[in-house]
Amino acid sequence: MNTLNVQLFDLTTFLFGTATGSYIAALYGKKEFLARIGTWICAAAAIVSTAAIGIRWIESYRMGIGRIPVTNLYESLVFFAWSINLFYLFVERKYGSRSFGAFVVPIAFFTMVFAFTIESGIQPLVPALQSYWLHAHVITCFAGYAAFAVSAGVAVMYLLKERRGGDKVTGGVLALFPDTKVLDDLVYRAIAWGFPLLTAGIITGAAWANFAWGTYWSWDPKETWSLIVWLVYAAFLHARITRGWHGRRAAVLSIAGFAATIFCYLGVNLVLSGLHSYGG
């Protein structure tokens, strides 16, 4: 029998699945109330998953190994989904459009489904992870990843809408999307949030590595991939700000950046080997 926190995370997975369904149904059925339900479900998922993280934290103290619950693959996945959901709710509120939901919430849902399939127990911290840098490093990295996820989801919306003639579309699902100008702006603005967070994530990681191993940069695959992600988004920002890259090219670069992000997060652990092999 799973502990309470895992049951709550399973409930969160179910909620994200339901919300994804509502958002997609809202687009195809053109029923605003379905999207509204999606928002309420996402808000409920935010509360349930926040509670689950808190309870998991407390449970770890009860087991005598108290530590922040972001230290293995399972915990990092649920924290990633939690960040995406919060970032999404913020964007939905700020931009007043629920059509984003069908493109962003599924990322949180599939992340949780993946988490559902792997070991969920609370393990004590290995010596390498016992550091206060852990908190700053993990939180900044995943908040950055979440921003990139939102950007990529919106970039997909942009490409779909632009392919069918942009803002001239009348009727159909695409007419419910915000203007291409708004979508294009959001692709950039999400990255403008993610990039500073990723930068802080890399720097806190370097500081931690220096404290643990005496070297702030060792070209370990995880480090190198985080640099690759950083370079891709740096290229995006330069192209955008100084060369006026908008629209399709910017959207494609955002999706490429997110693909690199996912590889940095999961691919490196699953495919390559290195210092981060404990799966965080």
């Binding site: 010596p127 390498a128 930068t199 643990a212 005496g214 070209w219 190198t224 290229a235």
Partner: protein, 454 residues
């Protein structure tokens, strides 16, 4: 011959190449793509290992282009140099222009500027320029920021701005990258990275430099007093703990009993990081000796079969060990030899310190268990550039925050007497970042400024 004037000189061409943002974007993407190879091909492994994995032709090719240590290869360094030169040239080219614009802002809203800004509003009212100028200046100050006033040709121009620092964010960020590179170079040139294994009870005064056969002298001696592994209740390792002493001029000058991962020891700029451990070979038995009156006479560490001499008494040596001696748990068989007497051979049992009293000897021995001699593995680093790197990192975060979260917002207001005798007011605004948010702010400024007139 005729186009000599308009053709750029070779120097100009080189310069134009390096100040190009296109080149910057290209370099960023090439660096990103090139970096991937070193994550697929494991770096700095023994050559035999690569021979096993790759066909001969592939091995030869990869070795030729330094793919086994690509991040230190000449071509990767060349890419980094291109990146740095490009970054520097872009900054040298653009920074003075930005500085000029910031120092001498366009305080007058002329017609050209009026057309180029995205947000503007016009209205008319009764009255004169001199009558309304101070009131509008005050209104703009409270709705946005205190304006500069420029007068001329019967017109009054108000100019107000916030978030000027936003213009410098990108240069602070570029500078920070150069500082980080300088720090990295200083560390590489003036520092070293090494490792050392120290068996318990032993000392070292030099360490092996990583990736070479050179030894680095520490300038002092480091002793490992002991090493242990703490475990969680489930048996998982909780902490690797080294007890280290620094010895200089024959004296212990520093001792840190709990050097663990994430908590290194530092002395004279050299850092020692807990990194690995292992079995140093050799097991010893811990034996405590007491006189029959109970006063301690020393705790002995006995290697197998080697006699230990106690002054004025004799010698003791451990000859045999039993995990469970006659059902009493771990025990050590010892041989005691005193001058001119036959050797005594008996067992002492762990956890039963008074058992040996039954021998009615002047010395009572008790067994404290076996010690496996461990070694602690330490990473050793001296990096005089690391603080420069942290300065760079801090600047980078500050620069990026300036660049993305500040916005240089400018608002102009022009008062002129129209041909109809009424006062013509023009309000205009622009922002270099987050224009959607500024649109909303501009609306508020509009209402704030207009409220003066009503």
């Amino acid at each position: 011959m005729t186009t000599e004037k308009s053709a750029p000189s070779p120097m100009d061409r080189v310069w134009n190449f390096f100040i190009s943002v296109k080149v910057a974007i290209f370099t960023l993407i090439i660096l990103a793509v090139a970096s991937i190879f070193g994550t697929i091909v494991e770096q700095n492994q023994p050559l035999e290992k690569y021979h096993e994995i790759y066909e001969d032709w592939a091995f030869a090719l990869m070795d030729r282009i330094n793919l086994f240590d690509m991040y230190h290869s000449w071509w990767f360094l060349a890419l980094l140099v291109l990146f740095t030169v490009n970054l520097t040239c872009c900054t040298i080219d653009r920074f003075p222009k930005v500085l000029k614009v910031v120092r001498n802002p366009r305080t007058k809203l002329d017609e050209g500027l009026e057309k180029s800004v995205s947000l503007s509003d016009r209205w008319k009212k009764k009255g004169t320029v001199s009558e309304w100028a101070p009131r509008y200046a005050e209104a703009l100050a409270s709705a946005f920021s205190k304006p500069r006033v420029t007068e001329g040709d019967g017109e009054v121009h108000l100019y107000a701005e916030t978030g000027v620092a936003s213009r410098f964010g990108v240069y602070v960020t570029h500078l920070s990258i150069i500082i980080i590179f300088i720090g990295a170079i200083v560390g590489n040139v003036a520092g070293f990275k090494g490792y050392v294994n120290i068996p318990e009870g032993e000392s070292v005064s030099s360490v092996a430099v990583r990736g070479g056969s050179r030894m680095q002298d520490l300038g002092f001696t480091l002793r490992c007093n002991s090493f242990r592994v703490d475990t969680y209740p489930n048996g998982q390792p909780k902490a690797y703990v080294s007890d280290l002493s620094v010895i200089e001029g024959g004296r212990e000058v520093l001792r840190k009993k709990d050097v663990v991962v994430n908590d290194p020891l530092q002395y004279k700029g050299i850092w020692f990081y807990q990194s690995s451990y292992g079995d140093a070979g050799g097991t010893t038995a811990r034996v405590a000796a007491r006189r029959s009156d109970g006063t301690p006479a020393g705790s002995l560490s006995l290697p197998p079969n080697e006699p230990f001499f106690i002054e004025g008494y004799g010698s003791i040596r451990g000859v045999n060990y039993d995990r469970n001696f006659q059902g009493n748990g771990p025990a050590l068989q010892v041989v005691v030899e005193k001058p001119g007497k036959p050797a005594e051979n008996f067992w002492i049992v762990q956890g039963r310190p008074d058992l040996d009293r039954q021998r009615k000897d002047s010395m009572v021995f008790s067994f404290g268990g076996l010690n496996t001699k461990m070694f602690t593995g330490l990473q050793v680093a001296r990096d005089p550039g690391v603080n420069i790197v942290w300065v760079g990192c801090t600047l980078m975060v500050i620069g990026i925050i300036m660049a993305f979260f500040l916005s240089h917002q400018r608002v102009w207001l022009r008062l002129a007497q129209g041909p109809d005798g009424r006062l013509a007011v023009v309000l205009a605004g622009s922002a270099n970042r987050n224009r959607l948010a500024f649109e909303k702010k501009f609306e508020k400024i509009q209402t704030g400024v207009k409220a003066v007139a009503s």
